[in-house]
Symmetry: C2
Amino acid sequence: MPRPSSFTVDEMRDRALRVFWRRGYGATSMGDLVSMAGLNRQAIYASFGGKRDLYLSCFERYQDTIVTPAFAPVEGPGRGLDAIRAYFAYQIDAADRLDLRGYGCFVANATAEIAPHDAAVRAHVAQHRARLTGGFAGALRQAAGSGPAGEAASVAPLAETLFVFATGLWTVARVESDGDRLRSSVGALLDMVEGRLS
Amino acid sequence: MPRPSSFTVDEMRDRALRVFWRRGYGATSMGDLVSMAGLNRQAIYASFGGKRDLYLSCFERYQDTIVTPAFAPVEGPGRGLDAIRAYFAYQIDAADRLDLRGYGCFVANATAEIAPHDAAVRAHVAQHRARLTGGFAGALRQAAGSGPAGEAASVAPLAETLFVFATGLWTVARVESDGDRLRSSVGALLDMVEGRLS
DNA sequence: CTTGTAGCAGAACAATCGTTCTGGTACTGG
DNA sequence: CCAGTACCAGAACGATTGTTCTGCTACAAG
């Protein structure tokens, strides 16, 4: 019987995700993944196929392990403006706590860097965008109640605005290590949204 | 006497800017700059030093020829909320008109892709951020008048929010060719800001 | 038209990239 | 303890990268 692998496939994805998340696709070499993430060259090719396949796998891993835990409250029952506030707070806190300052959002980084030249990445980005705008729209509708502000046509542009803001926030987070500056602009936006709904 | 150059230095910067703007730093090779931008290899090294130096030069060229014309009204006299609206409209229109769809903002792209690993780029990004937040803050103060909403401490978080939103808008523009979707979220945000100030 | 200067195109270069290959090794089942 | 399997580390490979080098060429001055 063979020797067992050092890492499971998901452990490899987690480790590679960290490097791609921080350095992006172009600036990450296979050598970086070996030396920084501690992965085995051969294992990457055996388990994923190559660098790009690994990157795509890390994209899905990011959605499952980072986006979903943070964003699920916005999508679940009892959601509202507080759930949206909690989403932003959760992600900013996590960056502070887990030493993820300067990482930003994997999806936002991918949108700026390679989505324009890579159809598969672009498709993942579009799916992420639809998910977040949909979640925001649902939470806004819930927060506005059954009045005129709660109609779908009314919350859609607001949800889009929240998504655009979120994308910008995580991009700014790439060069901003002070979480409080991020929290300040989040607060300013959500206070305005709250005023608009009530 | 020698043969004159095909391009002036600024023409070379303009041509290289287009390629870097669209493809980013990592995905742009010197061969791309030769074949896509029509530049001469030797001329690049003679005039700029190398790939990174050319990129940095294009960064400044972008600020001078793209950011300044669009953002100057926000910084000038008589500025207000309309000037901010005009800035967003001008940039979205320019992308439609000049076939710049999918380009986004050179600075936002640089923020996501390489600012974290390159101190010189990071410094340029920080300067750009200070300029835009400062301009937004001044226009907001003007728009709010001398009431309590016009105090510096009050408009600062709002200006930061506008900058974060703008960064996100141009990042989303990398994968969104429909200018109307961008205009819609701009309108939703600025309507809220207007409500907050009055 | 001649001359001389510097710009230009493409070859050549070393370094680095993603990928593949090879031998030794660690581990499980019997 | 033994044997066999597949994992691991590092060398090796071709392709591509940024950069430099080499003639040739186009053009302005005389």
